[in-house]
Symmetry: none
DNA sequence: TATGAATGAGGGTTCATTCAT
DNA sequence: GATGAATGAACCCTCATTCAT
């Protein structure tokens, strides 16, 4: 849905979607392959025509979601240097992605523990790469003076935690639209960074208006 | 440890402490009572002299940690009306508590899913009560004009997510001391709320200086 | 390979050869059809174009190997009456066959248990027929006085066990050649039977010199 | 029954005895723990109060039987140097042990493949130690001239194969008694080794008459 | 209080086999 | 003839929990 993948068998797609739902609802350990299979409408052993193992399925899901997220961020900020514009894009994409893929993100945050060591390293490597994108934005902004002098790592974590936290309560049919939330949290991020510019233009910045996701 | 409890058998205390460690390390479902018992130095069936069930043990832990946290917040802010002072106390206590009890908080955030429905409601009720304390502070501040006009619920979640996120990376032997983090995040919280006062005095507020936990 | 068979599809031949290897290496129960198919270079369900079932494949292999062995013995001793010459042929053929077809023999000795009752009876019937050939030689030799008076059944088992045991340690690239082993064990067999003649001529008997297998 | 072991729980003894029967009848792979448990009269998971794993159970059985056999051989030949007496003891003990423990020996010969590598090495090490006892006897006999000049390794395998083969057909209620078989096969072994002495006294040698097993 | 023994439920996974394509 | 997909049966094993001692 979000990126061009090696054409997948419909059953595989169904399994992956069901896995996200089932893992999100019960947790990876508590979710049984029998439950997953029933959700898909097949028998449990048939899952093995599409997955190598339960853990490998989790790994594939977590890796793919991070790869897709990184690809979006990098596509949006390719060629950009202005920290303000890049931060605006980051917040927009982070929230859009996280709110559209709330279950995937939830599973990704909860189930890292259940990966094997090598898979764990891959996923945390991607995750660190992602947070590194934000850290670079913050550092550039501090260096060029558009942000206050702050600890870039601490601010990275603070902004990321704030943004990701929205997943925990956002409901698509709720009081706030996604665009409301993007606006509010872009403001908050700039405030946290003591941005000396860009705040006034938050409501509708042309750079953030173009379609960022396919 | 944190509040006056019905005098507990030493083994029960050991079980609860070990449970936090084991649940935090492996997750509630993946942690077996055998592992817990071994951590305590007894056989698994002996646990049942102190706990009613695995799920009930989890509930007790989760409820008690929230009760303790609420008690601290309420004790600190009892009689106070100034939103600025109350927010300062809230940030201080939240961070102190969360960083001192990182494992408890981690388990509390991860394992809600594994509670039975009634227990789940109790714990989320306490949790909502806790976030309600912050919402009230924000609302009071907005009403009295010391904070910008913001959406109190959204800001509550944003501040809480930011503060709680510190647990995910703070290490006691790391670069930043707890007091550093309290100062930084108090600043951030005030900035997020557009506080018109209080920012200058963040470094050392008398009300927040007394020991908050036993 | 060893006898004229109903012209077999090359894939069927490959399956039978692979089955011997796989069954010998892992045992019949532990060897899966997937493994067998991979060894052949096809997918598991394709095996069923050539075999009726896994058990039936085992039966065919076990029966065919015994039929071939019996055919060789009977061809070599057809028309012969002298127990000494017949014993010499028996030892030569038994060892040649067993050492050339070590895997087949190994499987035949190990996997009888995994045959269905009817198939089991067929194979053990052939096996008993084979040992019966040796018993007849011993009995004839005792009757005609060229062998000591011995219990023919016990000696049959003793000689067969000794001969077959060579399979367990013989290696084609080892210290002893097949012909060395034939000579040594022919000697041993004659000694066990208290043969009053024939011992001196063991080294090269014309009757045993012709090629016994195709 | 055969040696002093660390006092075992009756259920453990029952499991080990049943395992020998079930493994002998169906083969290790084909024998399920459910079958074993039913044979013992408990539920399958209860087996794990006494065994660590199915493979470990097999290992324990195979190791213990070899350790017991080695202990008997060494006890009988302790202090003896005469190759003739030692061979007589060896044949006697080997046959007594193998015929009394036919199922254990059968499992031991069939299921080596199903051990893990480390366990496999332990058991084959013990087995090689056992065959080494016979090789030493043969070598000593050849050196002192009481046996013909033979290849000690080949003769070791030949004698062992012959002796062990008796397990395949001996029935306690059959035509031949164990003592008959010991006499016959002692004769055969001496003949195979071209023994220049000792043959006449086979029937009842004092050295072999004393009780060899507990 | 502590535990050895037991168990029903269920875990992930492999298997031989079938069948439509 | 070949195979992708599917499946019922069964595998070994772990689990939380009970209970007599």
């Amino acid at each position: 849905m979000r990126k061009e993948e090696p054409a997948r068998h419909p059953t595989e797609v169904a399994i992956r979607e069901a896995a996200i739902r089932v893992f999100a609802k019960h947790g990876f350990k508590a979710a049984s392959l029998r439950m997953l299979a029933k959700e898909v409408g097949i028998q449990a052993p048939s899952l093995y025509n599409y997955i190598k193992s339960k853990e490998r399925l989790l790994f594939d899901l977590l890796r793919d979601v991070l790869v897709a997220l990184l690809a979006e961020i990098d596509a949006a900020n390719r060629g950009l240097t202005d920290p303000v514009a890049r931060l605006r894009n980051f917040v927009q994409i982070h929230l859009d992605f996280h709110l559209d893929s709330r279950l995937e993100v939830f599973v990704g945050n909860m189930e890292l523990r259940n990966l094997t060591k090598p898979h764990y390293k891959v996923v945390t490597g991607l995750r660190d790469g992602y947070s590194g994108r934000l850290t670079a934005i913050v550092e550039d902004g501090v260096r060029t003076g558009v942000f206050e002098a702050v600890d870039a790592r601490v601010l990275t974590f603070a902004v990321l935690a704030m943004l990701t936290g929205v997943c925990n309560w956002y409901r698509p049919d709720g009081r706030m639209s996604k665009q409301d939330l993007v606006r509010i949290h872009t403001d908050l991020a700039f405030k946290m960074l003591g941005a000396r510019a860009g705040l006034e233009a938050t409501a509708e910045a042309p750079g953030a208006a173009r379609p960022l996701m396919v």
